[in-house]
């Protein structure tokens, strides 16, 4: 098995071949953040439970917890949930830093990050030693947060939740490529680490919205990134250092999804993959999400994203030498389905 050091060397060498030492730095950084890479491949776990919902439209909370544990065990190779979490969250963060959980409620309560999943993550973090008040659930605005089941709460004795716009944005603009935005102070000042909890959706402009696109909710003017089917807006945004470095892990909600007409809620296009998708490589995660949605659309007899004029090109852009955010090469993605 290739060691992490070897992988870093390989990643850096690959980037040099791309002709840029800056690109080498980026790929090396991406690899360094990808602590559970296997054989030089980015690991992505898709964990499913067909019985997650039973007869209800809402998933069973205990089954969601079990599914999360299954996903984390498969990802980390550690069967005990607390051991799994401790291998993901650095000890110094567990000991007293603030961990942000970036949810997504843009589509309203019909297609928002499931409350049961966010609560399951928060519970496991607390069991791993994180104080409740050091967990901060947030989204772009109060309505989106409410759609995820989190009213505003600033009581430090409990899991906190308040939105980007309440916390305010940095006065100073951050820029990378076409992204010229101001980042929420929740990300810049409050959180030391962020766990990304997007929800899998079709997107009428970007094609697919999942891990990288969820970062639109951490900036003041996300609509400025929509040009060109959100390409290169999504990739450029994720290159802004505070986003690139603090958003370390994704627990993607594919418990339910809309496979057409997104990002709004279209119940006639609602679908229950009954899955969570976890990983560190945001590009590999989005590539996997794209394949899941493409497969569902094909099954439903719908046109491909390409035929519909909205292929998620930002995924390849995020993987290129200039961005170096991860890999979209299926040969370099170790997909584990459990």
């Amino acid at each position: 098995m290739k060691s992490r050091r070897d992988f870093l060397k390989d990643a850096a060498a690959g980037a040099v071949l791309l002709g840029s030492s800056a690109a080498a730095d980026k790929l090396a950084l991406a690899a360094a953040l990808n602590t559970h890479a296997a054989n030089g491949k980015s690991k992505v776990v898709v964990a499913r439970d067909a019985a997650l919902h039973g007869t209800s439209t809402q998933p069973d909370e205990q089954k969601v917890m079990n599914l999360l544990d299954k996903a984390m065990a498969a990802y980390t190779g550690r069967d005990k949930p607390l051991e799994a979490w401790k291998s993901i969250v650095p000890a110094n963060v567990l000991a007293g830093k603030v961990i942000g959980l970036k949810v997504n409620g843009l589509g309203g309560k019909g297609i928002a990050t499931h409350n049961a999943l966010t609560l399951a993550v928060a519970e496991r973090l607390q069991q791993a030693g994180v104080k409740p008040g050091n967990i901060l659930v947030w989204d772009q605005n109060a309505n989106f947060l409410e759609a995820c089941g989190f009213p505003i709460n600033t009581d430090p004795s409990r899991v906190r939740s308040y939105p980007s716009d309440s916390a305010g944005f940095e006065d100073e603009e951050s820029s990378w490529g076409v992204a010229r935005i101001r980042v929420t102070k929740i990300l810049t000042r409050e959180c030391d680490m962020v766990i990304n909890l997007p929800i899998l959706k079709d997107h009428r402009m970007a094609g697919v919205t999942f891990a990288m696109k969820n970062m639109f909710g951490v900036v003041d003017k996300p609509f400025t990134l929509h040009a060109g089917n959100c390409n290169p807006g999504v990739a450029d945004l994720n290159c802004i250092p505070v986003i690139r470095n603090k958003v370390r892990f994704t627990i993607g909600d594919a418990i339910s999804s809309v496979y057409d007409g997104g990002p709004a809620f279209h119940p006639e296009r609602l679908w229950y993959p009954n899955a969570v998708v976890v990983g560190e490589d945001r590009v590999a995660l989005d590539y996997t999400a794209w394949q899941m949605l493409a497969s569902k659309r094909a099954e439903a007899g719908m046109p491909t994203f390409e035929a519909d004029g909205r292929p998620p090109l930002y995924i390849a852009t995020a993987a290129d030498g200039a961005h170096g955010l991860g890999t979209n090469d299926p040969q370099r993605i170790h997909l584990i389905e459990v």
Partner: protein, 164 residues
């Protein structure tokens, strides 16, 4: 040139106009949202939120563009509950003209939609109803699929339509 008497009349008219403007006397916007109980079983459970076209991204970023391209002027939204169980959201898009409303309705229609007689044109799925009437496009979405969901939504939609 105006004589003194004509000037008096002009100044008087300007003064009346200024008073009317100052007291907010302008065309009354339609309130399309039925009050609780106005449609049997339906209760209005939230305040109405209104978004100007330039702010629509705050309501539905990523979806706003299609409405803006079709000439949306403003969007109003409110939540409802049927018999204290079934939750739904009513969105009313005020477009610049009826063509804009019909454009969005056309995009919403797929072959599995059921055509309904409502406003100028309407469609229904198991958990949603969309119709247009003049410059208004109304979309009602429920968060559960029960045997009576579609009929309940259509009843609410008629309540909205009657107020437009």
């Amino acid at each position: 040139m105006f004589g003194p008497a004509r000037w008096d009349k002009v100044i008087g008219l300007l003064a009346i106009a200024a008073v009317l403007a100052g007291t907010g006397c302008k065309k009354k916007d339609a309130d399309p949202f039925p009050a609780s109980g106005a449609v049997a079983g339906w209760e209005k459970t939230s305040d109405t939120r209104v978004f100007a076209a330039k702010d629509l991204w705050q309501y539905i970023d990523g979806d706003a563009e299609q409405y803006i391209q079709a000439g949306v002027v403003s969007t109003s939204t409110s939540d409802y509950k049927y018999q204290n169980q079934l939750e739904a959201t009513v969105d009313v898009y005020t477009m610049g003209d009826s063509a804009g409303a019909q454009k969005i309705l056309g995009k919403s229609q797929s072959k599995d939609a059921k055509t309904i007689s409502l406003g100028d044109a309407g469609i229904a799925y198991a958990q949603s109803v969309t119709f247009c009437k003049g410059p208004y496009l109304v979309r009602i979405v429920a968060y559960e699929d029960t045997p009576g969901t579609q009929q309940s939504l259509i009843a609410l939609a008629h309540g909205v339509e009657s107020k437009l």
